[in-house]
Point group: C2
Chain length 567, copies 2
């Protein structure tokens, strides 16, 4: 059962659904024509299918390990990294002046997702570097950029993000890592960071850490934190990795999945670092990195879901059982329901993800605040719905396998274990939902309403050819609009927060209906239309219950005292 | 974070919600008064908290293993089994004449669920024995009963179920294991069985296998299979374990979870067995065993969910993060939403499970076909909703833990991995749903309608005190009735099957609303009422989308060709 990167799915989305034509029509991305995009996707697909997918199982069975302080990665991962690096896939969207290809994020997002389906634990390594490249490109000094970006982009060096501390997870402002000026333009960084993905490896000559820490005069909370670049080896005069910095990997976490990706506890003892962005301005730089990574993690969820889907489909086509037409379980109605649900949800999540990536590209191409607001609004939805979808698809994949799904040798369980973390890291999905209903609605719901205008405009156009589906999407959008009005009218934030997760999911459900409707219009009578009908008839209706929950407020959620809740 | 068996929850359910008073009022179970039940639950709770819960983690870290053909169980499991056996917990509901206590299944079900929360992988061992005891008590000859039941009930010997073969999972009729008469009243059994839970252990002097096999003249399919009792050691003349039978454990499966429970591939080579029930009548005997086990597995899901809930609650009460009232995450609205959802769903699933157990007891006490039909109808709902709830609660438990949820040391991940199998074994939840909409509706939906009559009658009574909740439950039940009418009108079975899983879940959602409403009436102004309002306002609405899906039919699910689905 070999993985096959979903290149045709991406071609369809880019050519028909997510407005990619605007990107190619821009001056900045004029070269990234659909033909070029196809060629790139096909090339990336080969890497996924032939190099990365064969590493998936070994990463699970032989996890990365720490031997006398030296990190040893899973079998073949070093070669996998080299292949990714040599293909130029790390720096696809990075600036050309530092060796990148300056391609649209839409393309990077597609490639990252395909790689995630092939081998999630390895794919996380270049994703971390991409986040660091983005942060440095936007916030670092020219000297730092010139020194670090070419090596990060080429894959000679790798990048990581060091945010979390034991007492500072979702509340990053609670961190206690310290930074002090050395008086020579460098800083001394001290503290312990946990949950550092790919905190070290044995295939790069340097590993560069972006570390959040507080300067002595930094205010408490998020306003007083600064971002520092702290390399494992200090660059020497020729810019190569030199003397070891005073930092170390203390231990690796024993995780439920994603075993190929070492999750490190990092210790910094007066390690030498360089400021990125302004003093006390760490949060802005961190958000650049986080937003990039959140989109990437949404894609990880979808990619892992795609892998799980392909494997379940293969199994269902081969597994003989019962008295169906073909003799295999794929002809059982309940199995068909499961497989079609998986496919329909993956399409919806992927379309949302890609429309977010297109908004990011249009923001970069035009500098237009509207595109920025759109990207900001779609990022938490892309992250949470992409990962929730990946998890539910992998769960269904286990179920399609029946008893074999619970046996590790089938691989279905690995997808399920691996993908589960994507709903947690880079901001839990609860944090994404709170971001959506609070920060992303500081405009009083204007951005949400403009998206809903689009959804209803398309639904109106679709009435001519797909009246039933169009009406369902239009009505769902009206319900979403009412719920949005209710939400923005709540001044007590907990009334929004208590229903934030159901609201985000409902928004994603409606967006999924919107994109499925677009697919139906693009493929009348074809498989896209059939899949859209399945989604809009059977899966979209979930939005109503979610919106009821979204508008139920905090009082009922807090009605039980803690004693009553625990009792 | 120690487990505390939910004894008060069971007392409330038995005293107020699930009609247990009818059981104590029957002649057969007159001794099982509420006072006696409380005393027994408290005693069982001690065993769960003090003996079984401490074994949970070790079962995961040091799985059962096979050493030169000898099965070695996880640390402490032998002592745990002895404690369960000595407490009389295996034979709680078994016939008194063979050493059982002849207590109601309601009580056994409660105790089993509590044990599942403490240590699921160990609890599966007595559950398997219970299924075997039930099957032998109903279908075996007196000689077999006299020989085997006392030892199974005392826990000196253990029992297993051998149904599945590599090519015969959900389609058990496809099995190829063979039986031939030895001419002396015994049979020679040959074949290989897979996925045999607790196929062996190192703490019983014998392990007795109930094996499905086909006699030479047995017809193909399920009608030609017979059930045999095949012990690991042949009983000698004094009835003790004697000479080894020709069967062996070939290997153990490497599973995603439930590591403490050895899942065996069993090989039978002309092993000596005794017929249980009639020749070619294996299916009836198997269903006795399966129905018992299905109820038990529903309880396993709920128990594991309870364990996950308690652990998440403990974590939320202790984990400091953010700027909430208490400084801990339990005061965050989204965390409170998660915890309250877990608690509300567990109550619903548990009430459904216990009402099924009560129906089984009333069937036994009265011989009334109505109770039998009720038990038969509620069994697949109890199994599927109990296990789905356990899985979703464990999943939410991981999420409450944030990053720590993905780290194995926290234990949240173990609940998630362990409970996942419960939706698969003893008939996948898809099989349960198909059973519900096909076999359990051979009466044209009469049983379903009688249950809905009860739901609506109670809702009418509740209007005086809880008008809004009553109306919500009543309306939901009306929608369920319409969907049921639609289902039974479909002659093409695939039209039922394509929506069977959503239909079962909707039925459970409505039943959950019914029992929550009963709880609100029993506890006006109290925590039960608050929890009921949360469920009925925020979770019950899901039924509508599920019922839409349930009535969508097969055509849309089969619209995509296999090439289109896979492409």
């Amino acid at each position: 059962m070999s993985f096959r990167a979903p290149v045709p799915e991406y071609e369809f989305l880019l050519n028909n659904i997510v407005g990619y034509e605007q990107v190619t029509e821009s001056e900045r991305f004029a070269e990234a024509t659909n033909e070029m995009v196809s060629a790139i996707l096909i090339e990336a697909g080969k890497l996924c299918d032939e190099v990365m997918a064969p590493l998936q199982r070994g990463g699970d069975l032989e996890p990365a390990r720490l031997e006398n302080g030296v990190l040893r990665t899973s079998p073949g991962f070093a070669d996998g990294w080299m292949a990714i690096a040599e293909g130029g896939w790390i720096g696809m969207s990075a600036p050309e002046e530092h060796g990148g290809m300056a391609l649209p994020m839409a393309l990077t997002t597609a490639v990252n997702e395909m790689m995630s389906g092939a081998c999630l634990s390895l794919q996380l390594a270049p994703l971390m570097s991409q986040g660091q490249i983005e942060a440095l490109a936007h916030h670092a000094s020219d000297a730092l950029k010139d020194l670090y970006l070419p090596k990060l982009i080429s894959g000679e060096w790798a990048g990581t993000m060091n945010l979390t501390e034991a007492q500072a997870g979702s509340d990053v402002g609670a961190l206690s890592s310290k930074a002090e000026s050395n008086g020579d333009g460098t800083y001394a960084i001290s503290g312990q960071k946990i949950f550092i993905s790919w905190g070290d490896n044995d295939f790069c000559s340097n590993v560069c850490h972006l570390v959040l820490a507080r300067l002595p005069e930094g205010a408490p909370g998020t306003k007083g934190i600064s971002l520092f670049l702290v390399p494992k080896y200090l660059p020497n005069e020729s810019g190569e990795a030199g003397e070891a910095n005073s930092l170390s990997v203390v231990s690796l976490e024993h995780k439920m999945g994603l075993h190929g990706s070492p999750t490190c506890v990092m210790q910094y003892d007066q390690a030498t670092g360089w400021l990125v962005g302004d003093e006390h301005g760490g949060l802005a730089a961190m958000f650049t990195m986080m937003n990039n990574a959140r989109l990437g993690v949404g894609g990880q969820g979808i990619g892992a879901g795609e892998g799980a889907y392909q494997q379940a489909m293969s199994y269902a086509l081969e597994r003989k059982q019962g008295r169906s037409e073909s003799g295999t379980i794929v002809d059982h109605a309940d199995v068909r329901r499961m497989l079609t649900t998986m496919k329909a949800d993956l399409f919806a999540a992927r379309a949302i993800l890609m429309s977010c990536a297109v908004a990011i590209d249009m923001q970069a191409a035009t500098g237009d605040a509207e595109w920025a607001a759109r990207a900001a609004f779609l990022t938490p939805i892309s992250k949470a719905f992409g990962t929730d979808t990946g998890i539910s698809v992998a769960d269904t994949g286990v179920q399609v396998h029946g008893g074999m799904g619970y046996i590790e040798e089938s691989g279905a369980a690995q997808f399920f274990r691996d993908v589960r973390v994507t709903a947690i890291y880079e901001g839990t999905n609860g944090i994404q939902a709170m971001d959506l209903v609070a920060r992303k609605m500081l405009d009083g719901g204007d951005m949400a309403n403009r998206l809903m205008d689009e959804i209803e405009e398309q639904a109106e156009r679709a009435r001519a050819t797909h009246p039933n589906m169009a009406e369902s999407v239009w009505q769902a959008c009206e319900s979403l609009r009412e719920a949005t009005e209710w939400l923005v009218a709540q001044d007590r934030m907990n009334d929004r927060f208590a229903g934030a997760v159901p609201y985000l999911r409902a928004f994603a459900r409606v967006l999924g209906g919107h994109f499925h409707l677009a697919a139906a219009m693009a493929d009348p009578g074809g498989p896209r239309e059939k899949l859209a009908r399945f989604y809009i008839t059977r899966l979209l209706p979930e939005h109503a219950a979610l919106l009821t929950h979204a508008q139920a407020g905090a009082d009922g959620a807090f009605a039980l005292t803690l004693e009553e809740l625990a009792g």
